[in-house]
């Protein structure tokens, strides 16, 4: 009977428990600042480390290609895991120390329970704070996992997250501020007005030609309001001269 018990205890003493939780970027609520150029936002690992009330839960942040080479026995707060030396020569750092008290289970409805990785700017250059949660130095990609340590012994860990890529900002000189061309309205105004103006000019020219040709003679159709009245001349009466007929 002792042998199976010993066999049961042996794996627990030698290996860390692999929890089936994968850290992920927050999905609810939709955050505008989910990923910025130097920070990203993770969900808190609620109801994940239920059995490890005595452990310190650390967040391990590593470059994507170095995630598999991370050694769980590397202690937090040492030069091998100091944030200030990340990413060169340190390939993964440990930060955001917490205990189960900080992650009560279950999560109350309506509370926003997130971890903002990269929010501490004051200690980013301070080597006396190797566990600083400083802004990430590049766009990544990064992978994270949670590690529970009792003393300096790792007891549980989550899976590594999917690679997290941060935003890269473009230069504003790449924006072309020259006009995108002319709108339909402006083209319509220009063409229509040009045509109207051309017609009017043509009309003016026709008028002047008509006038100059008319002043050399021609007829008109309208009459002026004060029309010239033909006066009837009453000449001398031409009397019948019966005598002339004779």
């Amino acid at each position: 009977t002792m042998l199976p018990l010993l066999l049961l205890l042996l794996p627990a003493a030698h290996g860390t428990a692999q929890l089936r939780y994968k850290p992920a970027l927050t999905k609810e609520p939709r955050l505008e600042g989910l990923r910025t150029a130097s920070t990203f936002v993770l969900d808190q690992p609620r109801c994940v480390f239920k059995d490890y009330g005595n452990a310190d839960i650390w967040l391990v942040v590593a470059l994507d290609q170095d995630a598999s080479t991370f050694n769980n026995t590397a202690g937090p707060g040492t030069p091998e895991t100091a944030f200030q030396s990340f990413p060169d020569p340190v390939r993964a750092y440990m930060t955001l120390n917490a205990t189960l008290v900080n992650y009560p289970c279950p999560k109350p409805d309506g509370d926003i329970t997130v971890l903002r990785v990269g929010s501490e700017t004051s200690c980013a250059q301070d080597v006396t704070r190797p566990t600083c949660n400083g802004p990430l130095p590049g766009p990544g990609p990064y992978r994270v996992k949670f590690l529970a340590l009792e003393g300096s012994v790792p007891v549980a860990e989550t899976a590594w997250s999917e690679p997290i890529m941060l935003k890269t900002a473009k230069s504003p000189s790449s924006i072309s501020a020259t006009g995108s061309g002319h709108s339909a309205g402006m083209i319509a105004i220009t063409t229509i007005l040009s045509i109207l103006f051309a017609i009017l000019l043509a009309g003016l020219v026709a008028m002047l030609v008509f006038w100059s040709s008319e002043s050399c003679g021609g007829s008109s159709s309208f009459s002026k309001p004060e029309s010239v009245t033909v006066r009837r001349y009453n000449t001398h009466h031409v009397y019948d001269q019966p005598a002339a007929r004779l």
């Binding site: 900002a169 105004i189 008509f210 309208f222």
Partner: protein, 256 residues
């Protein structure tokens, strides 16, 4: 003969009516452009670098065109009633000159309005907002104008807070991305001018930051003015065209 007289009277009546409308529209155009010129909205620092002088020039030309239209419409009415060829010829020539000026003003206003794209404001904002060594006073004014704009309209950036994330900027040079993903003016502020929830604002939690862009607030008043000058002028010119054609036809039929 009586029928022809009736036609003449009808044509005269129409021309007088047309000229009355032109006169009234001229006054309206003058009044509208005086209002626009004397009431520069607070966005002028934003528009100063753009060819704002164009829209002002268009408005000034329209003021004088409006007055000219009013004066010429009176001349036209007198000329039509008196059926004087010289008066009407002078009227037509002066009207054509006025037509040309108003045409230039309309096209300028329409072209200027086209040039106010979001990209223009975006580039300007990114390069000059909160510039650390302001080259001249206009940079300070631009920063103040943007701050006021974002506060009053509860908006952020030109297209949204993502403007500050997608592009580097003069603001980014002095304010770290972790502390200031976007300017504090983009946060929902309380009565003292402090963010209601700074962490909420930095995270981008809905309700603690302004998620809209300010482009609508900028382009709204500018568009109204531009359309007012451009399209109203266009409508007046179309009407003037008809009246002038009628006057030319009337002129060619006058006895001399």
């Amino acid at each position: 003969m009586a029928k022809s007289d009736d036609c003449v009277h009808i044509l005269q009546g129409l021309l007088v009516f047309g000229n009355v409308v032109i006169g009234m529209c001229g006054i309206a155009l003058t009044a509208e452009c005086i209002y626009f010129v004397s009431n520069p909205h607070d966005l002028s620092p934003l528009l100063k670098t753009t060819e704002d002088s164009d829209i002002n020039a268009a408005a000034w030309i329209s003021i004088f065109v409006g007055l000219a239209l009013f004066a010429l419409s009176i001349l036209g009415i007198i000329g039509v009633i008196k059926a004087s060829r010289t008066l009407l010829l002078v009227y037509i020539i002066l009207m054509l000159i006025t037509f040309a000026f108003e045409m230039a003003s309309c096209i300028t206003a329409a072209t200027h309005q086209d040039s106010l794209t979001p990209d223009l404001f975006l580039k300007q904002m990114l390069e000059r907002y909160q510039k650390s060594e302001p080259a001249n006073n206009s940079d300070n004014q631009l920063t103040k104008a943007w701050d006021e704009l974002m506060l009053q309209n509860h908006c952020c950036g030109v297209l949204g807070p993502s403007d500050w994330q997608d592009y580097t900027s003069a603001f980014r040079l002095t304010h770290s991305d972790a502390d200031y993903p976007w300017p504090r003016a983009c946060c929902v502020l309380d009565a003292q001018g402090l963010p209601v929830n700074l962490d909420g604002c930095k995270l981008g939690v809905p309700g603690y930051y302004n998620s809209n862009g300010c482009y609508d607030a900028i382009s709204g008043p500018v568009n109204t003015h531009a359309w007012g000058v451009a399209w109203f002028g266009f409508a007046i010119l179309c009407w003037t065209f008809c009246v002038l054609l009628g006057t030319m036809f009337y002129w060619s039929g006058i006895d001399y």
